[in-house]
Amino acid sequence: MNSGDTAWVLAASALVLLMTPGLAFFYGGLVRRKNILSVLMQCFMMICLITIQWVVLGYSLSFGPDVKGWIGNLSWMGLNGVGQEPNADYAATIPHQVFMIFQAMFAIITPALILGAFAERMKFSSFCVFSLLWATLVYDPICHWVWGVGGMLRMQGAIDFAGGTVVHINAGIAALATALVLGRRKGYPDRMSPPHNLPFAVLGAGLLWFGWFGFNAGSALGANGLAGNAFITTHIAASAAGLTWALLDWKINNHPTMLGMITGAVAGLVAITPAAGFVSPVDAIWIGAGVSIICYFFVSFVKVKFGYDDSLDAFGVHGIGGIWGALATGLWANKAVNSAGADGLFYGNPGQFLIQAKAVLVTLVYSFVVTFVLLKVIDAVMGLRVSEQDETIGLDLTQHREAGYTIIE
């Protein structure tokens, strides 16, 4: 047991928790005035609901003793045996409980990321049922495959430092499935109002960036040089990506935009997530610049061409950015940075790129298919969308009987 490591992972857990309210404001600023509370509410519901799911069942499914590489068994349900002593398989120098709560924060934010794709039109009750089942049927298994001892992708040598596959690709492709199943918002794409409060979105992006230091540097699970490397690569990639997006906006749309810059920064954070503890600081620049070029193209042109309403670009940024990040880890990973990692294609090991690509593909297929079926079932049982009239009035009033803003005192 190491007190420095324990202190850092506890602090990092709090940082990662803060990302979910940060995400709430990032997304909340981008919706219309009548739906701000629905977004904040969905994010807070994830904190409360998934925490309980994690303690009761989720942690055991994700990290519990392996069942044939597919899932953890139920022996750690209700945190049975998860105590103050370290679990050497996961983190030998911190209490097992601390590792558990650090991972809980990841389980919370992942389903919250998805809501960017179905914002402004999903029934709150259906959202709760969907998120709870998604966490259990999609997040927990994929988490086990990649990070659980005996997990099948981990056994094949795929590397994912802080959750590019588990969190971002997983949430991103699920987001695409929800956008396709729920359909477009009324009036999309030509009759939509602009974001109602961009300063909220900027505040949210700032909190995400801040919290991401816990997400990535905390994933070193110790207060050490590797945590420092992850911290630095995280910051560099976000900066390179925000800068690149602003320059692209400047060149293509004639003006650099605030929304573009924060979108780029978040995309950079997504992309560096799987790579943070495996790549050098300078290579993080290429990962950051690359993700903005790819995501910019996706959000600006591909989405428009196909016409799906990924309302706040959960797929365009987290899905596409996550795929780039996982593949880029297979390009720039470097054993000189982390001897427990691997060398990537640019460091003489093309095989790692293929292993990464396979992990990406498996995650994409599993998450998309299960999410799609899950949504269809919930739609048949209880319906997914609010009525057209409720959508026009807004989710704040119709789902929560509250208003985000008063106009007349």
Partner: protein, 113 residues
């Protein structure tokens, strides 16, 4: 009695209010509004998606006056709001049928000032 509605550039408001005060017309209702005239709007771009039909922020004044104050009122607004550029705004003058002061129940000419 006239009911005068003026749409002006927001940054001209202080000047217009001062001019109205100078002409003994202190009573005015002001609101923020959005609109477009010949100046058109400026379209906005969010993640490369253009929002068509942009509007600009304007300020609306509503003033009820007795007939003899109508001309000075229009002069005061015009002088304060004119810059000579497209987008200075417009003044609409309507006939006003009735006016009641809620506190006293007085009506029309007496009630208006």
């Amino acid at each position: 009695m006239k009911y005068i509605v003026a749409i002006i550039q927001p940054d001209r408001l202080d000047e217009v209010l001062q001019n109205l005060n100078d002409k003994q017309i202190p009573l005015v209702t002001v609101s923020s509004c959005m609109g477009r005239g010949r100046q058109k709007g400026i379209s906005e771009v969010y993640r490369s998606h253009k929002e068509a039909g942009g509007l600009l922020k304007k300020t609306k004044l509503e003033i009820a006056v007795n007939d003899e104050f109508a001309k000075p009122c229009i002069e005061a607004i015009t002088k304060g709001a004119r810059t000579g550029h497209v987008g200075d705004g417009k003044i609409f003058v309507l006939d006003l049928k009735e006016c009641v002061r809620i506190r006293t129940g007085e009506t029309d000419g007496v009630a208006i000032g």
